[in-house]
């Protein structure tokens, strides 16, 4: 069963099967780690986005919830992500002003939408990635 684990309320509301973690990005990672230990597989990379922990207070991870032997790829990715988050300063959503927080939440949601769409997880099925760019006219010729 696919499930999103997130501390981003904005995304939580838009997704079919989602668990909202009240806490930091690290809390999300640790919760996901426990699930991976019990056999869940990661469907998205836990460090999605080209951002250091101190630049991303939100984390959203899509998993395939299962019981059984831990998946090695998932395990090494989640353990590594936890290690990285524990090794440096992190920011929590609460300590940000609302405009910055919204930007972070927005980016986090954006980065997940594509993957969530692929796995049929969006409540609003119309949300698809931007269509291939076509220009109205040949501006330069």
């Amino acid at each position: 069963m696919y499930k999103l684990i997130t501390n981003n309320p904005e995304l939580h509301h838009d997704v079919k099967n989602s668990e909202l973690i009240e806490g930091s990005a690290l809390d999300v990672l640790i919760h996901v780690r426990s699930l991976v230990h019990l056999g869940s597989h990661l469907l998205t990379h836990p460090l999605c986005g080209n951002l250091r922990p101190n630049h991303q207070p939100f984390r959203s991870i899509l998993i395939d919830e299962k019981n059984g032997l831990a998946d090695l790829d998932s395990l090494s990715l989640i353990e590594e992500a936890v290690r990285i988050y524990q090794s440096c300063m992190i920011i929590t959503p609460e300590e940000l002003d609302s405009s910055t927080r919204n930007d972070y939440a927005y980016i986090d949601s954006e980065l997940m939408r594509e993957s969530l769409g692929q796995y049929g997880m969006m409540k609003d099925a119309n949300i698809n990635a931007a269509p291939l760019l076509l220009l109205k006219k040949e501006v330069l010729n």
């Binding site: 460090l47 992500a81 440096c88």
Partner: protein
């Protein structure tokens, strides 16, 4: 395939009545350029064009993309195919290049993206774009609440249009250009020539994680492709365009794609040290299934081509490290030797582990430096853009901008400082 790059060397910039080239100076008709950019209803009224020259006490912040002005004067297709021109295949014929010149797009998209370019001082040493004569577009959306995808696209297109326009306007000066010729054989011929040399390729990883993390190939969003083969000459005509902004230090600007130094060096050594057969373009997606698929497919292409070795370059940090490592060990298991080009996030003290993933096969790894190292950038006389963005930019923090106008940031915030295409001389060693 044969491509001639006709290089016009730009030594200075000025505004004037007619956009064109004379005696090393590129004159820009500001009104005409602004008018062309403003055609896009997504861009606001307060857009501006400015000039920044090497050595000036000028800071540009926040910079989104850097583009080298190019224009095809002969041959099929046109520069930036699928973006500001038709989708026809490029990479042959004659392309005019305004060497030493760059178009910079500046402006806020979301709050913490983009980078800093200082035209002089200590920061200038770290970015290749302090040495170019820069035409800076300062952009804003027509509606502050505009969808960020739309605005990112508008900024991206504005930069490409400006770059094409500037080069096109210099076409009459073609007779003054210096000509560089590149030839690239089809794979069959390439394979059969130079039988004594190892056959090698270049695995070109592109950032493709979503908004602000996308790259386009002939206008196609690269996250939707299976890894594919491209000739190095197509890259020079702008077949690959950057649409990503985060972590200024190691995003590959459109300029660095057009001038990809790995391709340049491999072409130079083709026929001497190896037989350079093909570039393979691959993506860096978010889902693990995509990562596995792309790495398996890209390395399978290398295997199908019978390559003996590949150079792999990464774009970005963290999540793409997983793609880099998968590409590395999957290629090595086919018996394909690899060399990797990446950068490091070893923390401000340099004591953390540099990469988020590793494999024992990655035993030939060059890095473009530690992006977390802190640098102090003294105040400049002129700031193009918004200095306060230093406090929210990736690599900066609240308080990065001092009252005296100086900025303390990680190298991360400087555009192109740890280019993973290897476009700088920066590197790291272990103390």
């Amino acid at each position: 395939m044969k491509l001639e790059l006709h290089r016009l060397s730009i030594k200075s910039l000025k505004f004037g009545d007619n956009t064109g080239f004379k005696d090393g100076t590129l004159t820009v008709n500001k009104a005409e350029l602004l008018e062309m950019i403003s055609e896009d209803p997504l861009l606001g009224k307060n857009i501006d064009v400015d000039i920044a020259m090497p050595g000036e006490k000028t800071r540009i912040i926040p910079v989104k993309d850097v583009i080298e002005p190019r224009w095809k004067i002969e041959g099929s297709g046109q520069v930036f195919p699928g973006m500001v021109s038709d989708v026809e295949t490029v990479g042959e014929g004659k392309t005019l290049v305004l060497s030493g010149c760059a178009v910079l797009t500046a402006g806020k998209i979301v709050r913490f993206q983009e980078g800093i370019i200082d035209m002089s001082g200590p920061g200038a040493d770290y970015t290749p774009y302090s040495k170019t004569c820069n035409v800076v577009l300062v952009l804003e959306p027509s509606d502050p609440n505009m969808d960020k995808h739309d605005y990112e696209k508008a900024c991206r297109i504005a930069g490409l249009k400006a770059a094409a326009y500037l080069a096109k306007s210099c076409a009459e000066a073609d007779s003054e250009s210096e000509i560089e010729t590149y030839e690239y054989a089809d794979i069959k011929t390439g394979m059969n020539s130079l039988p004594e040399l190892p056959k090698v390729g270049y695995l070109y990883m592109l950032q493709t994680q979503g908004l602000l993390h996308d790259t386009y190939l002939y206008g196609v969003d690269v996250k939707r492709i299976l890894p594919t083969i491209i000739s190095p000459l197509e890259v020079m005509d702008g077949a690959i365009v950057s649409g990503n902004c985060v972590s200024a230090c190691d995003k590959n600007s459109t300029y660095s794609h057009q001038n990809n130094p790995v391709i340049a060096d491999m072409l130079k050594r083709h026929g001497k040290d190896f037989n350079f057969v093909a570039c393979i373009v691959t993506n860096e997606n978010v889902t693990l299934a995509d990562k596995r698929r792309s790495s398996s497919y890209a390395t399978k292409l290398a295997h199908m081509l019978g390559l003996d070795g590949i150079v792999i370059t990464e774009e970005g940090f963290g999540n793409p490290d997983a793609d880099l490592i998968m590409n590395c060990w999957k290629a090595e298991r086919y018996g394909i030797k690899t060399a990797l080009l990446t950068d490091e996030y070893a923390g401000q003290d340099g004591a953390s582990q540099s990469l988020a993933d590793s494999c024992p096969e990655g035993n030939a790894c060059v890095t473009a430096g530690n992006a977390n190292e802190v640098i102090h950038l003294p105040a400049m006389e002129k700031v193009i853009g918004y200095a306060e963005e230093a406090n929210v930019i990736a690599g900066g923090w609240n308080g990065s901008l001092s009252e005296d106008g100086s900025i303390t940031v990680e190298l991360q915030a400087i555009t192109g400082s740890t280019s993973e295409l290897g476009y700088t001389k920066l590197g790291a060693y272990t103390l």
